[in-house]
């Protein structure tokens, strides 16, 4: 690795990146902590004394732990089933298994509302079938949130474990079998221990996403308090000092969870070499199971695509006509027609697209330079830069939003503040901050796959710094840049959690507009927006794939943080 040869050039790039990240990532967090201490410990005492805050903290942790359990309970067996067993319907099931993750956070919640809510299609269907006077269940409380989380977040566990199984050296299982280990001993003593790093990574992701989750508790919480919704409520009620305390507590819980997982991970670290080749899928032996497999697979596929279908169906419902029927009684293209013709309804779409584009472009430039510095340069401060880049990942979106609101609320050159709150630019900034770890980790993993001696080889052949950058480093970083940019753009287009804290009427994004339409009971319009959002997400994904050929799986896996 060629560090230190041109320290000036390195620092010429490192200093602006440090400055930008300190200013946009670290400073807001300091502002929040400072804000919480504005009146000494008074806000903290108020927090400690408030039963609702204590309830919020406990519930947040409870929801997160239960979400991890639910996601693991679904994702782990599914990963084993799809990687190790051959059955009719496997291909279709594999194809749709990751679909829930493609639902933007609020859209998933909306779809569940239409399906399993008190007046949802499934709920009413069961009620009608059983002749009940009331809805058979109410989609509120901890279990409702965990249900939604389990549906969207099991994908992390599934993807990580499936990738782990693919990397697992098949000869290890054979070696264990040859030494006399039966199926259970192989699973318990060989397969699961080797999957632990992948599983722990996925569980961490689910935990962090659940802890920062906002839309599910907001819509299904009922009277339930969790930290993220409590923060927004405190802010709206004017208790900004308490909101700062709650934000600090939420961020600290997330960082503590991260540290705990990392510590556990470090205790069992070994590289898994894939030399022996992955184990092959074996067919189902039992004839009964083999006969049942297609039906079971079909049921699972249906359950997985139902939310998407439901949103599509409701988007054709006439606003206001769907009241007590199981299915919407009237269908029309009105919702789409209105989206296309009414300026006010078109506005959020333009907002989301332009803000996502700005944030993603900034992510690409900043994260490429940061990843280049981290992977290919040796300089003092490299570890700090690595930490800065990863930091927004550890901080829930609500906390990021409150931090930005606390920092960029006035023009004050002396303290490095400029007024962005209430302007268009606050949301692109929020999206940018959330996108930094995603894009940076993707580019880092691409650059790490590059043989570092390529850079030396280019220089040895007389290439200038610029030529080396353009013809050697940038091409090596490209798969990661494409994958990272895609993920960042997809999350920005669907972003809700930070948006709902920071938006103004003028720059309101699609997600916030969906919520507004739901409040007006304009289900058709809300669903039409949701369909549009799904289409945008798919469009961006396809565009990135077409542009870059097949996406590197490892890169995609590296930094998916689409916290709901």
């Amino acid at each position: 690795m060629s560090g230190g040869r041109r320290p000036m050039a390195t620092w010429a790039f490192a200093l602006p990146i440090f400055g930008l990240l300190l200013w946009s990532v670290v400073y807001p967090n300091i502002a929040v902590v400072a804000g919480s201490l504005e009146q000494g410990l008074a806000h903290w005492r108020a927090f400690a004394a408030s039963p609702s805050d204590r309830e919020a903290l406990v519930t947040s942790l409870e929801v997160s732990v239960l979400s991890v359990i639910a996601s693991t309970a679904v994702g782990l067996p599914l990963a084993f089933l799809l990687s190790r067993v051959e059955f009719t319907g496997r291909r279709v099931l594999s194809a749709v298994a990751t679909l829930p993750a493609a639902l933007p956070p609020l859209v998933g919640v909306v779809a569940f509302l239409f399906l399993y809510g008190e007046s949802g299609v499934i709920t009413r269907g069961v009620q009608a079938a059983l002749g009940l006077a009331e809805a058979p269940w109410r989609l509120t409380g901890v279990w409702a949130i965990v249900f939604v989380h389990g549906y969207t977040m099991y994908v992390y566990v599934y993807l990580f474990v499936a990738a782990g199984l693919e990397r697992l050296d098949g000869s290890l299982g054979e070696a264990a079998a040859g030494l006399g280990a039966g199926r259970w001993m192989r699973l318990r003593r060989v397969t699961l221990p080797l999957l632990t790093p992948a599983l722990a990574g996925a569980m961490l992701l689910v935990f962090m996403s659940s802890l920062g989750s906002f839309s599910a508790p907001y819509v299904f919480g009922g009277g339930l308090r969790v930290l993220s919704t409590q923060i927004v409520a405190s802010k709206l009620n004017g208790n900004i000092g308490v909101a700062y305390v709650e934000t600090t507590v939420l961020a600290l819980s997330a960082v503590a969870a991260l540290a705990l997982f990392r510590w556990l991970e470090r205790r069992r670290r070994y590289t898994i070499s894939g030399k022996g080749g992955a184990a092959v899928r074996s067919p189902v032996r039992s004839p009964v199971l083999r006969a049942l497999a297609p039906a079971a697979a079909a049921a699972l596929v249906l359950a997985l695509v139902l939310p998407h279908l439901m949103v599509l169906l409701v988007s054709f419902a006439r606003d206001g006509a769907w009241t007590t029927q199981v299915l919407p009684p009237e269908y029309t293209l009105d919702s789409y027609r209105r989206l296309a013709t009414q300026r006010e309804l078109w506005r959020p779409i333009v907002n989301s697209l332009s803000m996502a584009a700005i944030a993603t472009a900034a992510n690409v430039v900043v994260c490429f330079v940061a990843a280049w510095l981290i992977v290919l340069r040796r300089f003092r401060g490299r570890a700090v830069l690595e930490l800065l880049v990863a930091l927004p990942w550890a901080i829930p979106a609500t906390a990021i939003a409150i931090g930005l609101a606390a920092t960029f609320n006035r023009n004050d050159i002396a303290t490095g503040r400029i007024l962005l709150v209430g302007t268009f630019w606050i949301l692109p900034l929020a999206y940018f901050v959330r996108g930094v770890p995603v894009v940076a980790s993707a580019v880092e993993s691409s650059l790490r796959q590059m043989d570092p001696s390529l850079e030396d080889a280019a220089r040895g052949l007389g290439a200038s710094w610029w030529l080396t950058m353009r013809r050697v480093i940038l091409p090596a970083a490209r798969p990661g840049l494409a994958a990272g940019a895609m993920l960042a753009a997809v999350s920005a287009v669907g972003e809700f959690v930070a948006s709902v804290v920071l938006y103004t009427h003028a720059n309101r994004p699609i997600s916030v507009e969906i919520l507004a339409q739901l409040r007006d009971l304009s289900f058709g319009t809300a669903a039409a927006y949701s369909v549009l959002m799904i289409a945008l997400v798919l469009g961006i994904t396809l565009a990135a794939r077409l542009g870059e050929g097949r996406l590197d799986r490892e890169v995609t896996e590296g930094g998916t943080v689409l916290a709901s």
Binding site: E174, L179, V190, P193
Partner: protein, 361 residues
């Protein structure tokens, strides 16, 4: 430990969608305590044969028996075999001792007992001191020995080894050959091992089974395969040497190269009678030939193309008149590259094989 006798009878295996069978009617007996090498080029079916013996791969036809008992359908965990994998397949999350103790754990041996036995097994391969280390801290040669200890500690009826030496660097490989044979001999285990390297097979095995395209070409001692190959394919694969057409004269053969005849005694493959084949070819091994001056009567004329110093001898590559290229071993330096030389047969008898389809052309 009781070594078992392993038999494969007409074992075949064709992978789904493959054009030809990976293993095609292989019959092979490995006596108790015997060391047999399965040798062949890549794609010859040797690893598939081994995996069928181990139970990792099903056989489409044929039977596998252990001491006369049919074990064809028995899963690997119930065969009681030991297996050493090409890349060792050591469990990365377990220590060296835990790896070795794994098979004992599967047999319900208590923790302290199995760790003590693992320790003994590790002492046996000279790694007792590294029992507590993580396996990834070991060198390739050490990992190989741990894999061997792990396979031997369960006192296997049969030990199967898949390319056990291929992952070692050349120097280590030479010394490990002898060590492997000694360790296997000492444990008196029945062993079947796969290698693409005949030197490995010569050094370790009592008998060699040579495979090509899924079929067994010949089974025999290393000397038999070298000096009495059953076919042109065996002669071609085993050892160095040129194979040239010859006139069949019963106990002798007339070898004509570039218009010059040399008459030599021959040995035929067992069961092959004079005049039975469409013609014969003889195998010209480097040590059976000698260089002469270019104008010696009765010697084939040629020119030295390349000269290689090989320690105890020089290896000359000589292009003979008539397009035949032979290798000649000589203990002295007699000629330089580009110089004309004569070549005569210096050691008899030569191995004769039935002419292959290549000779007819």
């Amino acid at each position: 430990m009781s070594a078992g006798a392993l038999s494969l009878a007409a074992v075949s295996r064709r992978y789904p969608g493959a054009a030809r069978a990976a293993v095609d009617g292989v019959t092979l007996d490995v006596a108790a305590g015997e060391l047999v090498a399965l040798v062949g080029a890549s794609g010859s079916g040797k690893t598939t044969t081994l995996r069928i013996a181990a139970g990792y791969e099903p056989a489409d036809a044929g039977t596998v028996t252990l001491d006369g008992r049919d074990i064809t359908g028995l899963p690997p965990e119930h065969r009681g075999f030991g297996m050493v994998f090409q890349h060792y397949a050591l469990f990365p999350h377990l220590s060296v001792a835990e790896n070795v103790a794994f098979g004992l754990e599967a047999r319900g041996v208590g923790k302290s007992a199995r760790l003590a036995r693992a320790r003994l097994a590790l002492d046996g391969v000279g790694l007792g001191e590294k029992a507590a280390r993580p396996v990834q801290a070991l060198s390739g040669g050490e990992q190989q020995r741990v894999a061997l200890a792990r396979a031997l500690v369960i006192e296997p009826r049969v030990l199967l080894l898949d390319e056990p030496l291929s992952n070692l660097d050349p120097t280590l490989r030479e010394s490990m050959r002898d060590e492997l044979r000694q360790m296997l001999r000492r444990s008196r285990v029945t062993a079947l091992f796969v290698t693409h390297d005949q030197e490995d097979a010569f050094a370790v095995a009592d008998r060699i089974a040579l495979l090509r395209e899924g079929r067994l070409l010949q089974v025999g001692t290393p000397e038999a395969l070298y000096h009495a190959p059953a076919s042109r394919a065996v002669a071609d694969f085993i050892g160095r040497g040129a194979i040239v057409p010859a006139g069949d004269e019963g106990t002798h053969a007339r070898v004509t190269v570039g218009g010059v005849d040399q008459r030599v005694a021959i040995t035929r493959p067992p069961g092959e009678r004079a005049g039975a084949a469409a013609g014969i070819e003889v195998v010209l091994r480097p040590e059976a030939l000698a260089l002469t001056a270019a104008d010696v009567a009765g010697a084939w004329r040629g020119e030295v193309r390349a000269l290689r110093f090989a320690g105890a001898s020089f290896a000359y590559t000589v292009a003979l008149a008539g397009g035949v290229v032979v290798e000649v071993a000589s203990s002295t330096r007699l000629a330089r590259e580009g110089e004309p030389v004569g070549v005569r047969i210096a050691r008899e008898p030569l191995a004769a094989v039935p002419a292959g389809p290549e000779a007819a052309a």
